[in-house]
């Protein structure tokens, strides 16, 4: 394992301090926590948005803290959900009396830790709502199991719910709009190479010289199948087809596309993928309203990608377009 780190046990804290050192006008680190909040938090009269999860997915989620998106991001250890006390600190720091929405990716750990934090906050009289993002169609949805994972589509929830909050929507309204995004966004990923948790020191799984994993999650959890390496076009088709089917996309639907790199994939490759994605949608007479290409939710230095599709209506388009000023997403 070769990494630009000092000590595998302090990577998260050092990263957070490095972020605040770089962006003191944007971000505040709440002392003795792993919580980064907007420099102007709590914002008077605005619903506070809190998200977070394990570290290692940067720029998720601290990169989305700022005007028009999140008020706070809570970072756990690498790939480990943050603890309830940390989430609670974030809730307290961003609540201005208008309540706080927790945007949770659907992992058992995240759900439990954020839920416990919500209980702590409610016990102190803070109004808290929760939404759970589960956009990853690589995993079967079922009420009997953990259900689908939350991956890169989460960023679009941050964007759109954040825009609603910034415009002064109530907690119930922001929660509803977040759920609307969740109901209309689907994603699927794949990996070419594994990644290594610093404190573990060895890759989380292995892939052969010519092997890829379709349906890979953002912590290296396997997905649908291992196959041999395919062309970008065929990969785009596999991922996109699954996503469009699940969303039940039809002619003349309007969509936003998010092509996400998992860490080590050059932007060049993401754009090659997007060429195919755009041409498939074009053939199917689906209207691409906007496309975002880059690293939005990574898995350390994993090579691979995910494709997210968000089905839009007028309201979602307006909120997607409205002003946002964060490190990793600006409009």
């Amino acid at each position: 394992m070769k990494k630009l780190i000092n000590d595998a046990n302090t990577v998260v804290q050092e990263m957070l301090e490095g972020m605040v050192a770089a962006h003191p006008h944007r971000l505040k680190l709440i002392q003795n926590t792993t919580v980064l909040v907007r420099a102007d938090a709590p914002v008077k009269g605005k619903v506070g948005l809190v998200s977070g999860g394990g570290s290692g997915h940067e720029p998720s989620h601290a990169g989305y803290v700022g005007v028009g998106m999140l008020d706070a991001a809570v970072s756990g250890e690498v790939f480990t959900s943050p603890t309830p006390d940390q989430v609670f600190e974030a809730i307290k720091a961003v609540d201005s009396g208008s309540g706080v929405l927790l945007i949770i990716k659907n992992y058992t750990g995240d759900v439990m830790n954020f839920e416990m934090a919500a209980e702590l906050a409610e016990a102190e009289g803070i109004n808290v709502a929760k939404v759970i993002v589960n956009d990853d169609v690589a995993v079967e949805n079922s009420t009997y199991t953990t259900g689908r994972r939350g991956i890169a589509g989460t960023v679009l929830v941050h964007k759109i719910a954040g825009a609603a909050a910034e415009r002064g929507a109530s907690l119930e309204e922001v929660e509803a709009i977040a759920n609307k995004v969740i109901n209309n966004v689907r994603s699927m990923g794949m990996a070419l190479t594994p990644c290594t948790i610093p404190a573990v020191g060895k890759p989380g799984f292995s892939l052969g010289e010519n092997e890829i994993e379709i349906g890979m999650g953002i912590h290296g959890e396997p997905g649908i199948e291992k196959t041999s390496i395919q062309t970008a076009n065929s990969i785009a088709e596999t991922l996109l087809t699954k996503v469009l089917d699940d969303l039940n996309i039809k002619q003349n639907d309007k969509v936003a596309i998010l092509i996400n790199g998992l860490g080590a994939t050059p932007l060049m490759e993401l754009y090659i993928l997007n060429k195919k994605v755009a041409s498939i949608l074009d053939e199917q007479h689906v209207e691409i309203y906007d496309t975002f290409v880059g690293e939005f939710m990574t898995a350390l230095e994993m090579a691979g990608c995910s494709i997210s599709v968000l089905k839009l209506d007028q309201q979602l388009m307006e909120l997607l377009d409205s002003h946002a000023d964060t490190l990793a997403f600006k409009r």
Binding site: G54, G76, E77, V78, F79, T80, S81, P82, T83, P84, D85, Q86, Y107, T108, G109, M112, N113, E115, M116, A138, V139, E140, Y144, T145, T146, R149, I197, A199, V200, G204, F205, G217, H219, G220, E221, P222, G223
Partner: protein, 210 residues
């Protein structure tokens, strides 16, 4: 057989040693069907518990269990943090103001833990989680009451942990693997097995390791 603050502290000490020694093993189990951090999470959390409780006096078991639970809750994270945290916190009211308790009472406390775990994690027996160790072990403790033989407890913990190997995961991160999760021991079941085996050791009055 009685259970008291010194024994509880001793139990956690044995458990922590085991976790530190088996950190990589737990992580390897989690690498196979999860995200590979279970060993790290448990090692980080229980070391912190030891640092906290080692040189501190506790008036009763309740205070001790609450401190253990809160420490786990704030140091472990992931799925196992809220679960183990909940387990200790939910057990604590039963010990209110008690320096020492009977094994029956201890069983009742663990039963409260188990209920807490199931409420928090919404997992059933057979879902390939730590519940697959907790539920049979706690049921057995409740049945046996004060006549519990620690060695039986240890053996049951071992057996139920091993039995998770053949299950298909329905809850937790391993659920994403579906059938591919079969053939691997659940990491949380393994750490829970350590927890009950360490308890058996203490109840036996010995701290020899397996």
């Amino acid at each position: 057989m009685e259970f008291d603050v010194p024994k509880a502290k001793h139990w956690i000490k044995i458990l922590n040693s085991k976790i530190q020694v088996q950190k990589n093993y737990l992580t390897d189990l989690d690498l196979a069907i999860g995200d590979g951090d279970h060993g790290l999470n448990m090692a980080r959390g229980f070391q912190e518990v030891i640092n906290k409780i080692e040189n501190k006096e506790y008036p009763d078991l309740s205070t001790l269990f609450k401190e253990i639970g809160m420490t786990i809750l704030s140091k472990v994270g992931g799925a196992s943090g809220p679960l183990y945290g909940t387990a200790f916190i939910k057990a604590s009211p039963i010990f209110q103001n008690k320096e020492s308790i009977t094994i029956s009472e201890l069983a009742q406390a663990f039963n409260a833990s188990l209920e807490g775990l199931k409420l928090r994690g919404r997992a059933q027996i057979g879902d390939k989680t730590m519940i697959d160790v907790w539920e049979p072990v706690v049921t057995f403790m409740m049945e046996q009451g004060d006549s519990l033989r620690p060695n039986d407890l240890a053996q049951l913990a071992e057996k139920t942990k091993e039995a998770t190997k053949n299950l298909e995961a329905k809850k937790g991160r391993a659920a994403y693997l579906g059938k591919r999760s079969i053939g691997h021991i659940d990491p949380g079941a393994a750490s829970s097995c350590y927890l009950f085996k360490a308890l058996a050791n203490v109840l036996e009055g010995e701290d020899c390791d397996e």
